[in-house]
C-alpha cells in the first residue's frame, strides 16, 4: 500500500470513529433479556472519545501495509471486532466503577450513570454481560480468519482486563485512598488501571496481521509507544481533574482530590505534571519513529490528541 504524502489525521479519526459507532451499534444487542440490552446499549452508545478503539484501528493500520493488500481483507473485520471488544471492557469498567460501593458517581458524559438510570442490580449485570460480550465479539462463528490470531486477541484482552491489569490496578486504587504513594507506586497503579487496556488496544491492533510479517523489534517499539501514551493519558487526566470544571469534563471534577486520592498533581505539582505529560508524549512519538513501520501517522495523531485535550 502506497503511503499518501499528506495524511489527514482529523478525517481519518472522524471516519474511524463513525465506523466504530456503527459496529458497536450492530454488535451490542438492543433486545437482550429483561432490559439488559437497554442498559448495555446505554452504557456503550453514550458517546465518549472511543480512544481505545481508535488506537486499535490505528495500530492495525500501521501493520496492515506490511502485508500484500487485498480488497476485502478479513483482518479488517477482525480489527474492528478487537476495537469494539476493548471498548466494551472499558465501558463495563466505567459502569462498575460508578456504582455506589466504588466511586459512587451519578454523572458520566453529562448523563446519569447506569445504576442511577437502571438500578444497581441491573448495572452490575450490565457490566458483567459487557465483559462477556467482549469475548463473544472476538470469537465469531465461521471460518476465514486464522484462529491463532483470535486466540492471541482473547489472550491479550483477558490479561489486560484481569487481576494483572485493570482489575488489579483498581484494587490498588481502592487501597490507596488517603495514602501517600511514591511516584513508582502511583505509576504501577496507573499502568495497571488504565495503561494495561490502552496497551492492549495497540497490541490487539498490531496482532491483526500475519505474525510472520511483523518484525519483533517493531512490536517492541509499538509497546513502548503505548506504554508512554498510557501514562501520559493518566497524567493529563489528573491535570484535568484539577483545572477543568464539571461541565467541560462531563463528569464530576475535582473528585480525586476531594477523595484524597494520590495523583500526579498532588505528587509533583501542576507544572511538573504538565511537563511530564509532554515528555511522555515525545517518547511515544520517538518510539513510533523507531518502529520503522510504514504508516504510523494515525498513531502519532492519537498521541497528540491525548495530551492536547482541553485544559
Amino acid at each position: 500500500m502506497q503511503e499518501l504524502t499528506h495524511f489527514d489525521a482529523q478525517a481519518w479519526s472522524s471516519q474511524a470513529r463513525l465506523s466504530v459507532e456503527d459496529a458497536l451499534s450492530q454488535w451490542v444487542p438492543e433486545r437482550a433479556s429483561a432490559g439488559l440490552g437497554q442498559s448495555m446499549r446505554y452504557a456503550v452508545m453514550g458517546g465518549g472519545k472511543r480512544l481505545r478503539p481508535l488506537l486499535c484501528l490505528a495500530a492495525r493500520r500501521s501493520v496492515a501495509a506490511l502485508q500484500p493488500n487485498s480488497e476485502h481483507d478479513p483482518l479488517d473485520d477482525v480489527a474492528m471486532r478487537a476495537a469494539c471488544a476493548v471498548e466494551l471492557i472499558h465501558a463495563y469498567s466505567l459502569v462498575h466503577d460508578d456504582m455506589p460501593c466504588m466511586d459512587n458517581d451519578v454523572l458520566r458524559r453529562g448523563l446519569p450513570t447506569v445504576h442511577v438510570q437502571f438500578g444497581q442490580a441491573q448495572a452490575l449485570l450490565c457490566g458483567d454481560a459487557l465483559q462477556a460480550l467482549a469475548f463473544e465479539l472476538l470469537t465469531p462463528e465461521g471460518e476465514g480468519v486464522q484462529p491463532q490470531i483470535q486466540v492471541q486477541l482473547c489472550r491479550l484482552l483477558s490479561r489486560a482486563a484481569g487481576h494483572t491489569g485493570m482489575c488489579g490496578g483498581q484494587a490498588i486504587d481502592l487501597q490507596s485512598v488517603g495514602l501517600h504513594l511514591t511516584r513508582e507506586a502511583l505509576e504501577e497503579m496507573h499502568q495497571k488501571k488504565t495503561g494495561a487496556l490502552l496497551l492492549a488496544s495497540v497490541m490487539m491492533g498490531a496482532a491483526c496481521v500475519d505474525p510472520r510479517v511483523l518484525p519483533i523489534s517493531a512490536l517492541a517499539h509499538l509497546k513502548d509507544y503505548a506504554t508512554h501514551l498510557g501514562l501520559a493519558f493518566q497524567v493529563v487526566d489528573d491535570v484535568l481533574d484539577v483545572v477543568a470544571d464539571t461541565h467541560t469534563l462531563g463528569k464530576t471534577a475535582g473528585k480525586d482530590a476531594n477523595m484524597d486520592k494520590p495523583t500526579f498533581v498532588s505528587l509533583l505539582g501542576l507544572d511538573a505534571a504538565k511537563a511530564l505529560a509532554k515528555k511522555l508524549h515525545d517518547q511515544a512519538q520517538a518510539a513510533l519513529v523507531a518502529s520503522e513501520l510504514p504508516q504510523t501517522q494515525a498513531l502519532s495523531a492519537l498521541a497528540r490528541e491525548v495530551i492536547d485535550r482541553p485544559y
Copy 2:
C-alpha cells in the same frame, strides 16, 4: 481405549474433584494486587461440589476414547483449563449474586460471603477479575494445542456467560420477583440463568477432541443430556429450597419463597416438582445411550448425583 467392565463412579469423581482443586489452587493467584488475590481465592477455593468442572471432564472422557490414545495428550490439560474456567464463571456469578444490590446474602457454603468478608468494592472487583481469569485460562501462552479448539472454548464460554446466557437469565430473574411466570417463562429463565453454563460445561468438555472424530449426532445427544440435566438441577434446587434447612444447604434456605420468586414448587407443587426432576433425569440418561459414545459412565453418574442430592 478399552472400556472397563466396572466403572467406579465414586472413585472417578473423587479423583477428578481433587485434580480440579489442585488446578484451581495453581491457577487462581495468591498474590494479586492489593488483596485481590486473597478475595479471588476465597471466592473460588471455598469448596462446593465442582459440578461444572466435573461435567466438563466427564464430557471430555466420553469423547477422548474416540481418538487414538497417547500418554500425555495435551487436550487433557486443555480440558482441565476448560473445567476450571467454567468454575471461575460460576464463582464470579455467586460473588456478584450475593451482593446487597442483588440477593443480599451473607452466607455461602457456611461461610461469610465475599462482600461480607472483604467489602462490596472488593467483591465487585473480585467477580470482574474472576471472569477475566476464565478467559486467561483458556488462552495460555505456547503451542501444542489446535488454536481452533481454544477459540471454540472461548466462544462457548462467552456466550454461556453473557446476555444470551447466565447474565440474561439473571436479568429475567430480577424482573420476575412477585410476578406469576408461566412454566415456559420459568424454564426460559432457568435455561439461561443456570442451564447455559451447565450446557457449556458439557459442550466445552466435548470440544476437547479433534472435531473430525466426533459425530455431529453424538454432539447433539450430549447437548440434549446437558439441557435435561440443567433443568433437573434447577427443579431439585427449588425443591431443596423448600424442604432442606439452612444448615444442610450451607446457604439461606427458603430464600426464594421468602422473596416471592416463582419456583417449580410454587408453580407445580412439591410432588409434581419431584416427579419432574425424575423425568428429566431419565431423559438425560436416555440421551447418553442415544449418543453411542463409548465412555459415558461418568456423565451418567453425575446426572444421578444431581437428582440424588439430600432432601
